[in-house]
């Protein structure tokens, strides 16, 4: 046993979940105090920049509402383009948050505690960004409420056999459950903030948000049980959501879409893109907000390993997809797969493979894996790659399907790019606001993993 232990690298034998000694009080001082501090100049610059992008995006959306969908480049047969690419992209980004907060909780991975709050917040903001796109894609979003099954004078119900309807239920359930899970985690932290705050209005707000939490043993008894149950349910949910998103494609008969590998392939891609975004945001946040001792190199290292594993799985999925296409002996599917890498959009296919499969291979080296510049490079690469992967799946498949007479070269318009930029603006504006007004680290969960916090575990500290 001992020899096995020594065979492990230092970082796994003695994972520094928290760097250096810290007491619960000092943790509160470090994490909660930033809520009262005036933010740094860099925060203001970032906020102004991202909210301007957001404003641009919303004005482009307003323009689309006024003019109609004709403002975009979409045209038959490419009826799905930037709108659905962005939807799948953003929903995917959200999945890392649920993975970190729910699945890793079930696996008792203690390192999740420091990053779960941030990752969950990113889930919620990403799903908000994602939700915009199907809404504006329907063309007349003020009638989108027709998707809800309510009794109406037409006597018709939504088509529950349609994957698009499954999507409505999956994404709205995912959003509401994520919001609930995030709020539950925040309640004890709101109580801490309530008891620290002096200002009358702020205190009233935190008081309201903490709904009178007082941390009694019976509170915690029910709380922990409920938290684990929701984590277990959210695990199934997060796997179902991107599977359902993939059904939007896989259930149809478009060549290149009609494949059984789609659900696991989409879920893996979602986690891959989401982890890249979490790494990107956390590398910047921890240095700007001075959280290096709580979000340690160990956290970044573990997340980079997850990215590397997902990257290899993505490579496998691409190869399997190609194999399935070849093995199908179907000329249309062969044609579509040739289009992916040699067609009109050949460079998007190669960009996808480069960014998603080749660049993350840098992370095999421990030296490179611990360099911030490499992490940021890989994370941006994966984000770009995963966006273009959806471009390949959607646009390259649609623009030349079964009917050669309908083939069409899709060109996005400036409005398409404006809305894409706007969604990034919205995401980062929300992330920045979150980092400003809420505890970015779940202090309650962190206190429970400080050494000596759990006498029942023989002085150890387990989540």
């Amino acid at each position: 046993m001992k020899s096995e232990m020594t065979a492990l690298p230092e970082i796994l034998r003695n994972p520094a979940v928290i760097d250096g000694p810290i007491s619960p009080g000092a943790l509160d001082d470090q994490v909660l105090a930033h809520v009262y501090r005036k933010p740094q100049t860099v925060w203001f610059i970032a906020f102004v920049f991202s909210s301007l992008c957001m404003l641009l995006g919303f004005s482009m959306i307003g323009y689309t509402f006024y003019i109609g969908i004709g403002a975009w480049g979409n045209n038959i047969p490419v009826a799905w383009a930037f709108d659905i690419i962005n939807f799948v992209f953003w929903v995917g980004i959200g999945h890392a948050g649920t993975l970190i907060s729910a699945i890793l909780l079930l696996f008792r991975a203690r390192w999740r505690n420091a990053i779960s709050r941030f990752a969950e917040a990113m889930t919620i903001f990403a799903v908000m960004c994602a939700g915009i796109f199907p809404l504006i894609h329907v063309g007349r979003p003020w009638l989108a409420f027709w998707l809800t099954p309510y009794p109406n004078q037409r006597g018709v119900w939504p088509n529950f056999r349609s994957p698009l309807m499954w999507d409505v239920f999956a994404v709205s359930t995912y959003f509401s459950v994520s919001l609930l899970f995030w709020y539950l985690g925040l309640v004890p932290d709101f109580a801490s903030l309530r008891d620290r705050t002096v200002g009358k209005i702020r205190r009233a707000i935190y008081s309201l948000l903490s709904i009178g939490w007082r941390g009694s043993s019976s509170h915690w008894l029910h709380y922990e049980k409920a938290y684990v149950i929701i984590a277990g349910l959210a695990t199934g949910l997060v796997l179902s959501v991107h599977s359902v998103v993939s059904f939007d494609f896989a259930v149809s008969l478009v060549p290149g879409w009609h494949m059984t590998i789609f659900p696991p392939y989409f879920v893996c891609g979602a986690i891959f893109a989401g982890f890249a975004m979490v790494v990107l945001v956390l590398v910047l946040t921890r240095s700007v907000m001075g959280l290096e001792n709580l979000i340690t190199r160990y956290h970044l290292d573990v997340m980079n390993r997850v990215i590397l594993a997902c990257s290899c799985l993505m490579g496998y999925a691409y190869v399997m997809e190609g194999f399935t296409a070849w093995y199908s002996m179907n000329e249309s599917i062969h044609h579509t797969f040739r289009q992916y890498i040699f067609g009109s959009y050949w460079w998007t296919g190669w960009l996808t493979i480069t960014c998603n499969v080749l660049i993350p291979q840098l992370l095999w080296s421990r030296r490179l894996r611990q360099k911030y510049s490499v992490m940021i490079f890989v994370a941006i690469g994966v984000t770009v790659g995963m966006w273009f992967e959806r471009f390949v799946i959607i646009v390259s498949s649609l623009h030349q399907d079964y009917l050669p007479s309908a083939w069409h070269i899709y060109k996005p318009t400036i409005v398409d790019f404006g809305i894409l930029l706007g969604s990034f603006g919205l995401f980062f504006t929300l992330v920045l606001l979150f980092a400003r007004v809420l505890p970015v680290i779940a202090t309650t969960e962190m206190k429970a993993v400080i050494p000596g916090a759990q006498p029942g575990h023989g002085g150890g500290a387990h989540a």
Partner: protein, 381 residues
């Protein structure tokens, strides 16, 4: 010295100190109610305190099963029974296609039961007036201290003795939390304010609803679908040189399958007779056409009371009334052809034979809604 208190609270420095103190305090005061307040959950403390297991798992299981049944049942009912839609060539009760939504509804029900059931039912939150929230120890508890409370909830207790016990087991400080005074009767001022708030909220909600239903859907860009350029048939649209949007038939010609109809008013039409026999197949055809074209306004029974009238303000005729029963067939035929009052004519939608089939069916409706003893067949009388 006995006096009433809500609880007596001892603060401890570490989780270990708290865990060590609990059995001693319990041993010293077996009758006392003991509660702990901690900044984070301490595992195993519920066993030391002798708490029962949380019932939340059972609640979640029950609500999850209800969610699954509700989701699947609703899908089967709407898609298989209430309005069967045939899509993807699947049978109406294709349960396999309903699994994803059933799963999502299950998760939704179960998660919200776990989250909200835990907060609202089991932990009885929100509760802003709990005496603990006003104690001086609370800011320490949510930060880094651990409290053990002997709860009296207003009963007179020996404060000094309990304080001594808590000090004895290592409490760094002890606080006596007073029982709050019972809240007085509701003041008239409060009632007035609450009433005012309800009235204002109702007015705002009414205004918003009016805006959302009446004004919003007809404002730009929602109205753009109505404004799109199009050619209306037989209207002056300026498309051709003579300003018409469509060409008129060549003078002196008749389209194939089209008979010219020259009768101008109902009285002239009275002399027309129904050329079709009232056979079962003609009745079937008449019923189908009536249900398609006439029933939206005249109702399935022809009594002028359909489900859709209120929205349009027109008052459709009661076809089974005495006036219309007295009409000759020709007058009914003419009305279908030329329309009457708000009703448009249906010359393009129905052929001549189809119109007469509808007349037959209207007669059948009139008879069925005014049935006499004579109409009942002998064998079932």
């Amino acid at each position: 010295m006995h006096k009433p208190a809500f609880s007596i609270l001892g603060l401890f420095d570490s989780a270990q100190a708290l865990m060590d103190a609990i059995p001693i305090v319990k041993c010293g005061m077996p009758a006392a109610t003991i509660e702990t307040y901690t900044p984070y959950p301490i595992h195993g403390i519920e066993k030391v305190l002798g708490r029962r297991r949380s019932p939340i798992a059972g609640m979640v299981l029950v609500m999850g099963v209800i969610g699954a049944l509700a989701g699947l049942g609703f899908e089967l009912w709407t898609s298989g029974w209430d309005y069967p839609l045939t899509t993807f060539g699947k049978p109406p009760w294709s349960w396999q296609a309903f699994v994803p939504i059933m799963f999502e509804v299950t998760v939704l029900f179960a998660c919200f039961t776990a989250g909200l059931g835990m907060l609202f039912l089991l932990n009885r939150l929100p509760m802003f007036r709990h005496p603990m929230l006003r104690s001086k120890s609370m800011p320490h508890i949510t930060r880094d201290k651990f409290a053990l409370a002997v709860e009296a909830e207003g009963q007179p207790v020996d404060v000094d003795a309990i304080t001594a016990v808590l000090k004895g087991v290592g409490a760094i400080s002890v606080e006596v939390i007073e029982q709050p005074a019972p809240s007085g009767p509701i003041s008239p001022n409060f009632v007035l304010r609450a009433f005012g708030a309800i009235v204002v909220s109702c007015a705002v909600a009414a205004g918003l609803t009016y805006w959302a239903i009446k004004l919003f859907p007809v404002s730009a860009p929602m109205s753009h679908m109505l404004d799109q350029p199009r050619l209306d048939p037989q209207r002056e649209e300026g498309f051709f040189k003579d300003d018409f949007g469509m060409r008129l038939p060549v003078a002196g010609t008749v389209a194939r399958g089209y008979l010219p109809y020259t009768i101008k008013n109902q009285d002239d039409a009275a002399s027309l007779t129904n050329p079709l026999p009232g056979t079962a197949s003609v009745m079937q055809q008449g019923r189908q056409l009536f249900n398609t074209y006439c029933s939206p306004c005249h109702g399935l029974l022809g009594n002028g009371q359909p489900t859709l009238t209120a929205a349009y303000g027109a008052k459709p005729a009661n076809l089974v009334s005495q006036t219309i029963r007295d009409y000759p067939d020709g007058k009914i035929y003419h009305t279908i052809m030329a329309g009457k009052n708000a009703m448009p004519g249906y010359p393009a939608e129905l052929t001549q034979d189809e119109r007469w089939a509808v007349v037959h069916y209207v007669r059948a409706l009139q008879r069925s809604q005014n049935a006499k003893d004579l109409d009942i067949p002998k064998e079932i009388k």
